[in-house]
Symmetry: C2
Subunit: 239 residues, 2 copies
C-alpha cells in the first residue's frame, strides 16, 4: 500500500515578495518523511482570498492531509480562517472555547483582550482546535486540513500537536553517495541501476563546486535491505 500523501499551503505575501524565506516547509517535510507520510505538493499563495480558497479546495481533494501556515493572527491581513471557512462552506464566528483560552491567557498576562485579539478566536463551525503552547491563540482542523500559524516556533509546536493523530506509513529510509563526476558520465549506469530497483526511488542531485561537477545520489525506499543492496551496486559501479 502506498504511503499516505500530504500537501502544504504556505500563505503570505512576504514569501512571494522575497522578503522572507520560508522555513516551515523544510521543517514539515522532514517531520512527515520520518513518519512515512509523503509530502507530495506545496503551494505558496499571497494574502488573496480567492487564491487561498481555491488552493485549499484543490489540495484537500487530492491529498490525505493538508497543512497550512500563516495568516491566523490578529491583523487586517490575517484572512486564513475566513478563507478556510469559505472553502468548506462553513459558518465562522468567535467561538466560546477559543475565546476562553484567550481570556484566560490575557487575564494572566494583564493584557486587554481587544477586538483585534478576539479575531484569533474566529473558528469555523465543527473545527477542532489545535493547541498552541507558545502563544495560546489556537490553530484548528477542518476535515483533513490543519490550519497553523506562520511564526516558526508556533508552527513547529502545532505540527507536534497534530502529527501523533495522523496515520503514517512505513518510514521512508534513505542513503546517499556523493560522486565527483558530472551527471553526464554517470547517467547511463545510474538509469540501469534504477531499472533494476523499480521499488526504490533513485535521485541524482547535481552540484557544481569550484568549477567541478558532481552529484549526490540518493536512494529512498521503505525496505532497508533493498536500499543496502542498491547502495552496494552503486558503490561498485562508481568505485
Amino acid at each position: 500500500m502506498p504511503n499516505p500523501t500530504a500537501a502544504m499551503l504556505v500563505i503570505g505575501d512576504e514569501i512571494l515578495s522575497g522578503r522572507t524565506q520560508d522555513a516551515n516547509m523544510h521543517y514539515l517535510a522532514g517531520e512527515l518523511t520520518k513518519r512515512g507520510i509523503t509530502l507530495a505538493e506545496v503551494r505558496i499563495v499571497g494574502d488573496q482570498r480567492d487564491d487561498i480558497v481555491e488552493a485549499v479546495r484543490a489540495l484537500a481533494r487530492r491529498h490525505d492531509t493538508v497543512f497550512t501556515s500563516g495568516g491566523i493572527g490578529p491583523t487586517h491581513d490575517d484572512i486564513t480562517a475566513d478563507c478556510i471557512a469559505a472553502a468548506f462552506e462553513r459558518h465562522i464566528d468567535v467561538r466560546d472555547d477559543a475565546r476562553r483560552l484567550l481570556e484566560e491567557h490575557y487575564k494572566n498576562s494583564g493584557l486587554d483582550l481587544n477586538a483585534a485579539r478576539l479575531r484569533m478566536a474566529r473558528i469555523p463551525d465543527g473545527a477542532t482546535l489545535i493547541d498552541n503552547p507558545v502563544s495560546v491563540a489556537p490553530g484548528f482542523t477542518v476535515e483533513n486540513v490543519h490550519v497553523m500559524a506562520g511564526v516558526p516556533a508556533v508552527f513547529q509546536a502545532m505540527v507536534a500537536s497534530v502529527l501523533p493523530g495522523l496515520t503514517g506509513g512505513a518510514p521512508l529510509l534513505s542513503q546517499s553517495l556523493r560522486i565527483d563526476r558530472g551527471e553526464g558520465d554517470i547517467a547511463e549506469p545510474l538509469g540501469q541501476l534504477a531499472a533494476r530497483f523499480p521499488d526504490l526511488s533513485i535521485g541524482s542531485y547535481p552540484f557544481q563546486k569550484n568549477g567541478a561537477f558532481g552529484a549526490n545520489i540518493v536512494i529512498r525506499g521503505t525496505d532497508g535491505a533493498r536500499i543496502d543492496a542498491a547502495m552496494a551496486q552503486l558503490a561498485e559501479i562508481f568505485a
Copy 2:
C-alpha cells in the same frame, strides 16, 4: 494597470523530502519584485509526470509568465522537458541547434557526448533556447513558460538571460518598521491605517524573540510619496 504576474514551478523530490532547501524561489522573487512583476504563486511538485504536466498547464493559463526549475539534466529522473512538451502537446526530440551547442562544448572539454548527455538536447518543437553560460546545456521557452535548471548557479544565469525580454511594471517599492509590541496591540490602528491607504499593501509579520513579541510592518506600493506618507503616519501612531 496592475503589474504583470508570474508563477514558479519547482520540480524535484529532493525539496519535498526535506533533503534540500530550495534557494531559487527566494532569488527569483527578489529579481521579479525589482522589475515590477508580481510573483503571485509558487508550486512545488515531485518528479511525477502527471503532477508536472497539470501544474504547468494551470500556471501557464493563469499567469503572464511561468518559470520552472529542475529536472532538465541527463539522468533518468530528469523528465521536465518531456512533461513541458506534453503540457503543450508538442513533439519533442533531440534538436539540432541544442545538439550543436553540446557537441562543441564536449569536443572542447574532451568529454564524450554520450546518449545521456544528448538527452539534454531534447527540446520541444517551436521552443526558443535559453542560454546557459555556466554548463552549456540550454533551458528553453515554450509560449509563456521558461524552463530552467535547478542548480542555483545555472538557474540564476538563465534568469538573467530571460528577464530583459519580459515586460515589467512599475517596480514595487517597500519600507518597513519594526514595532516591539504584540500584534494584538497594534492590529486596530494598523487596520485603520491600511483603510486610509487602500492603494498600498500593508503587511504585519509577527516574530517572537527571547519571549517578547513584535512585528515588522512592511508597506509596499509603486508610489514612493504615498509610502512615505503612510510610513510617517505609522511612525506617529506607534511612537
